[in-house]
Symmetry: C2
């Protein structure tokens, strides 16, 4: 693994959030608790202890930093941190069904391990639990935080629907791809990066700046994810090489090439215009085509541009300097990651 | 059709709620709006106008009556009425996938018409929209109404999980069946029958009485539903005769027989202990067995007992007499329906 060192805020936040998250999940009935705990990597499918690799906990870390950025204690952010993690995980459980993904973080997905019916209802339970947990916070600001969660989640779901609709379109240009990814990934990261400030009762200007940082970070995250979805090492990504191409996803590198038009776009469109999953040979051909036509470089450039925009959003708006430094380190970590 | 005349409150409420519900659904992105509008029976799958039979609108009617029962105007209840309808419909869309039901109200279910992936995400969108709509209500009481919605929905999801788990149990007794059905159906009806009073800021005693009425009504509803699931006329139920037996559901008539034990219970358990769906002959045999062993009469008796409990809950607690009369008429309508 190369790239930036893991920012300390991730571990610092995990220690605060995971016990609360575990307590929330433990409130589910037995039938839902086991698959939910399995999804979080805390147990194996038979209930035995697991040493699975957990998620990075990016969203809770953003929530905590957004409280600290407005001078509040990390504890203020915790109900928001738990809620946003629950919403994120509900979306993962359902998206894995929709995308037919059989593995996540080197383990069978919930639908693969427990069946589709259980995965549907476990996702529903996590989604609903997010609202329940957040509304139990005693602060008056929980109301604004919950309204914002509802709006961000509606946008996230719309983004997932747009991504699904891309499968039926002959081509997708870069603006359409960025708009979809801003919805699918950016909205909830924007929420994550501002909910602590909302719960702290911070003024709208600071909340908006933090949210803008999060939306931009979402596009950084997605650009890197889309590069890894084609050229990532299966050992570290936990997905087959060229997975996104095999499934003919219209991700950012593909959209860059299709947007540019010309011969490479025609060839790529022709490859995508066949029936069924692409063969290994076709995947390899498509990957080379995209590199030559500048799709990989163009996507890396998008990641850099949105990283700059994220950093600019939290600069000069009166946020606490140490938190801004940590937000910047986190954004660079997301931009540089290779897993 | 026999049974009580359709209570006027259903039509009176539909006129108030349906435009708001349609406006809420219209806020969804195109990809989600069409399958959602199809589910509500407003359009066909191709977007053309539909003359589909709509749902009865029981939950919105309860919400409106609960506001009127505490002396408030029907309008106070409307955000709650819309929210509870959205949650109910999200659960129908997902439950139809889980139960493998291909028809609802004589039309293909959403997953049948649009595919499972779309049905998952449309359900998610309706679930989330419920919170978004309710939180936009300007009254301070929206916060309590939303917290209660989160709790009721968690219980509803737990009930659905319990129902799914019943499929893997050799037998289910009556108390377990009633507990599952109180969760699966009663919790959201209890919420429906009290949310108007919550939004009106009514005292806890009246809210609790109305909620208790709704939970009991849920058991009435479910008992009748379970009788119709075995002996209902397919022309009016829109489902195949004996459907619940064919799928080996452990519904209330079955649980009554299994609880009583003896020869009939052994025979029924043996029938249920075969592989795959039951044949027409086995369905007919099981239905006769349940009648002879008192499973049908026992379930009708449960419906009557919970009807009495529902009526008793709203008696003598200082609610408006005209609303109590309408609640009673609605409960009798639910108990007497044969569709």
């Amino acid at each position: 693994m190369v790239g930036a060192a893991t920012p300390a805020v991730l571990e610092r936040t995990r220690v605060l959030v995971e016990p609360l998250l575990a307590a929330a999940v433990d409130r589910l009935v037995d039938e839902l608790r086991l698959p939910a705990r399995y999804h979080f990597g805390w147990v194996e499918a038979d209930g035995s202890p697991s040493d699975a690799v957990a998620g990075k906990g990016l969203r809770p870390a953003l929530a905590v930093l957004s409280a600290e950025a407005v001078g509040a204690d990390a504890s203020v952010a915790l109900p928001g941190a738990v809620a946003v993690q629950l919403v994120h995980d509900f979306s993962l459980v359902h998206d894995d069904i929709i995308d037919g993904d059989e593995e996540r973080r080197h383990r069978p997905t919930v639908w693969t391990a427990f069946g589709m019916d259980d995965a549907i209802i476990v996702g529903d339970a996590l989604h609903n639990l997010a609202y329940q947990v957040l509304l139990e916070d005693p602060t008056p600001e929980r109301v604004a935080a919950t309204s914002r969660l509802a709006r961000a989640t509606t946008v996230m779901i719309a983004g997932q629907a747009a991504d699904m609709a891309f499968d039926d379109l002959p081509a997708v240009d870069l603006p359409a791809c960025l708009a979809m990814e801003a919805d699918k990934t950016g909205a909830l990261l924007g929420y994550s990066a501002s909910v602590g400030a909302v719960l702290a009762g911070a003024p709208a200007g600071k909340v908006d700046a933090l949210e803008a940082y999060g939306v931009e970070l979402g596009l950084v995250f997605q650009a890197v994810d889309d590069v890894l979805g084609i050229w990532g090492d299966p050992v570290v990504t936990g997905k087959a090489a060229g997975n996104d191409l095999r499934e003919r996803k219209k991700s950012m590198p593909v959209a860059v090439v299709l947007s540019a038009g010309g011969l490479a776009a025609d060839e790529l469109r022709a490859l995508y215009d066949t029936e069924g999953d692409l063969s290994d040979e076709q995947v390899s051909l498509a990957a080379d085509l995209i590199v030559e036509a500048g799709g990989r470089d163009g996507t890396v450039a998008e990641a850099r541009a949105h990283l700059d925009a994220a950093l600019a959003a939290v600069d000069g708006v009166g946020l606490e300097a140490s938190a801004v430094d940590e937000l910047a380190a986190l954004a660079r970590f997301v931009a540089d990651r290779d897993f």
